[in-house]
């Protein structure tokens, strides 16, 4: 059994009636990696996750988990566990019984399953809340119960559907750290669906950017950020200017662009459309004379040496080695 990969997708397709939700995607997720499926809504990322979990039938192609073809297997025999976006905690059961649910289904005696459930509640620091009902917990606590309930099944792969979307921004960053810590400690693969590029960049070993049912780029976040393959990727992950040149489109990181005077170096002329103070940086939005939009992220110290205001003429300059050619459409 080839277990170099926890999950392999082999030209997996999902059709709903006549519309194609996922179009022949192939992907290999190495053992023990944190993989983020990233993309705008309707790109097929959640459908892909649900096909891996077995909650959605695969129209064509194969799903392999730990080297074994699980395409036709029911959810429970796949070695996956899913954390739902709504958490789907059973409202009539206490946290302890929620976490112990899978053990109860396997016929494990009450004392034993409660002992194990307490261990997993401790793992997410909720041992004091064992007897509470889900409705008596905050959103963040509910999420941790859902996590414990999924992990107690000892999955090979944990599937997370937009796990942070219901949390407030401050908590989101704390929980994000917690997820990454758990993934490292448990050494299993996490597949995390999100539409937030910040989240994906912070967490992922493997970042899979999807659009219209296709995988547009799958690589380490740094690779994706430094070498986006297409204008779509460059725009979606943000922080880039996409500009046309005689040799095709290029992407330049906004923080590598400066306001200056044209000369021999690459530059583009335009007018300042907006100035936003962002603390350490000032974001200057430009409308170029060619009609494109461009942004310079200027360190505050540099900006205030020669501030500009909306309506001013301005020139965006960068160095050649920061320009990255976009190879795909």
């Amino acid at each position: 059994m080839d277990a170099r990969f926890d999950v392999e997708l082999v030209s997996v397709t999902k059709r709903f009636g006549n519309s194609v939700a996922v179009d022949a995607i192939s992907l290999r997720i190495p053992r023990g990696s944190y993989c983020c499926l990233l993309g705008p809504s309707g790109c097929g990322k959640t459908t892909t996750l649900r096909m891996i979990a077995g909650h959605e039938a695969v129209t064509e192609g194969d799903v392999l988990i730990g080297g074994a073809n699980v395409t036709m297997l029911p959810t429970v025999r796949r070695g996956t566990a899913m954390m739902f976006q709504s958490y789907a905690l059973f409202p009539h059961l206490s946290c302890l019984d929620n976490v112990a649910f899978s053990l109860k289904m396997r016929g494990i005696a009450k004392a034993e399953r409660h002992r194990q459930a307490r261990e997993f509640l401790a793992l997410v620091h909720l041992e004091d809340y064992a007897q509470r009902l889900p409705s008596q917990l905050s959103g963040g606590q509910q999420q941790r119960v859902a996590l414990a309930r999924a992990l107690i099944t000892k999955p090979r792969v944990l599937l997370l559907d937009e796990p942070l979307s219901a949390l407030d921004p401050f908590l989101r960053i704390k929980v994000r750290e917690e997820l990454k810590r758990l993934q490292r400690e448990l050494g299993i693969s996490f597949i995390h669906v999100t539409h937030s590029q910040d989240e994906a960049m912070a967490l992922a070993d493997l970042m899979v950017v999807m659009d219209h049912g296709h995988i547009r780029q799958a690589a380490a976040p740094r690779e994706v950020f430094e070498r986006p393959v297409s204008a779509f990727i460059a725009r979606f992950i943000g922080g880039h200017n996409v500009l046309p040149t005689p040799h095709g489109a290029i992407a330049i990181r906004a923080d590598r662009c400066q306001l200056g005077t044209g000369g021999d170096g690459p530059h583009v002329n335009g007018r300042v459309a907006a100035v936003e103070y962002q603390g350490t940086m000032v974001r200057v939005a430009l409308a170029t004379d060619a009609g494109d939009e461009a942004t310079a992220l200027v360190p505050d110290a540099i900006f205030y040496r020669a501030p500009v205001a909306p309506g001013d003429a301005a020139t965006l300059v960068w160095s050649d080695h920061d320009a990255h050619p976009l190879t795909e459409a």
Binding site: P74, F84, H92, M105, L133
Partner: protein, 283 residues
């Protein structure tokens, strides 16, 4: 709501005259609704020499005692227990069928729309006609008409569509992710139903059971043409009204109302206990 009403009242804090007009109308409606019933409850305690109208000639429990004297009156205690047995069976069958149907209807299948309309069509059919048809059918087939055959069937034509409607509303609010989570956690189809779906739907199911029970308990039009020889309580009362007039009728009214309130009370206590147990488990 508090916000809305304070805004509607405006800065002067004074209610407009329409408030008092509508309030009076509503008071009149309540009087119209409950006044006659109150009269019945009071008159059921009429003295032994009194009649069916005021004034009261002393007070007594004579007419209640009359009810339970066998042979003299129509057989009220026996018909009451028949009604309760029938209502319990109707309620149980309605719950079983409407819960399974509502769960099944979540998945659209060819002809599901047609099937749904066929199932609820009997709600709009004239009730006497339905009863008549069933009675006639039993006669043509030479089957005996009785409490637990034709009458049961006739009542189900009324309670099943009602139960289906109610369960549709309950099931619509049910998040499918609960079932997917149960699958994910290794529950078999039966375990999923037993430990997840039914417990979450339980309050709605209790409601449907109670609704079906009361619909059956005071059903008249469908039952009267299909009952055979053993009357239910509403039929017995109707027979009584048309044959004799004495405060016994009022005593029946008082007694059946008390029964209904007892039933509602017991259900509320059960539901309250269930919630309490959950809350205690939580502390």
């Amino acid at each position: 709501m508090a916000f809305g009403s304070s805004r509607a009242r405006g800065p002067s804090e004074q209610r407009p005259w329409t408030f008092y007009a509508l309030g009076t109308l509503f008071g009149a409606y309540l009087l119209f609704l409950y006044g006659p019933m109150l009269v019945i409850y009071v008159l059921s305690f009429q003295g032994p020499n009194g009649g069916v109208t005021f004034p009261m000639v002393g007070t007594s429990l004579t007419w209640f005692r009359d009810l339970f004297k066998p042979g003299q009156m129509a057989n009220i205690p026996v018909s009451f227990s028949r009604s309760v047995e029938l209502a319990a069976l109707v309620s149980a069958l309605t719950v079983v069928f409407s819960v399974s149907a509502a769960l099944g209807f979540r998945r659209r299948f060819p002809g599901s729309g047609l099937l749904f309309y066929l199932a609820i069509a009997s709600l709009v059919m004239p009730s006497l006609l339905v009863g008549f048809g069933i009675g006639l059918g039993f006669q043509m087939l030479g089957l005996p008409q009785d409490l637990f055959t034709s009458a049961l069937g006739a009542q189900l034509t009324w309670t099943l569509p009602f139960g289906l409607f109610a369960m549709f509303a309950v099931v619509n609010r049910f998040n499918r992710a609960y079932e997917e989570a149960a699958n994910d956690l290794g529950a078999s189809a039966w375990q999923r139903l037993r430990y997840v779906t039914l417990p979450i739907l339980a309050p709605g199911i209790v409601g449907v059971a109670m609704g079906a029970f009361t619909l059956s308990y005071d059903e008249y039009a469908r039952t009267t043409l299909t009952i055979g020889t053993r009357n239910t309580l509403p039929l017995e009362i109707y027979a009584l009204i048309s044959s004799a007039t004495s405060p016994t009728l009022f005593a029946i009214g008082t007694l059946t109302t008390t029964t209904s309130f007892l039933l509602i009370g017991v259900t509320l206590v059960v539901v309250f206990r269930m919630q309490r147990r959950r809350a205690t488990a939580a502390n």
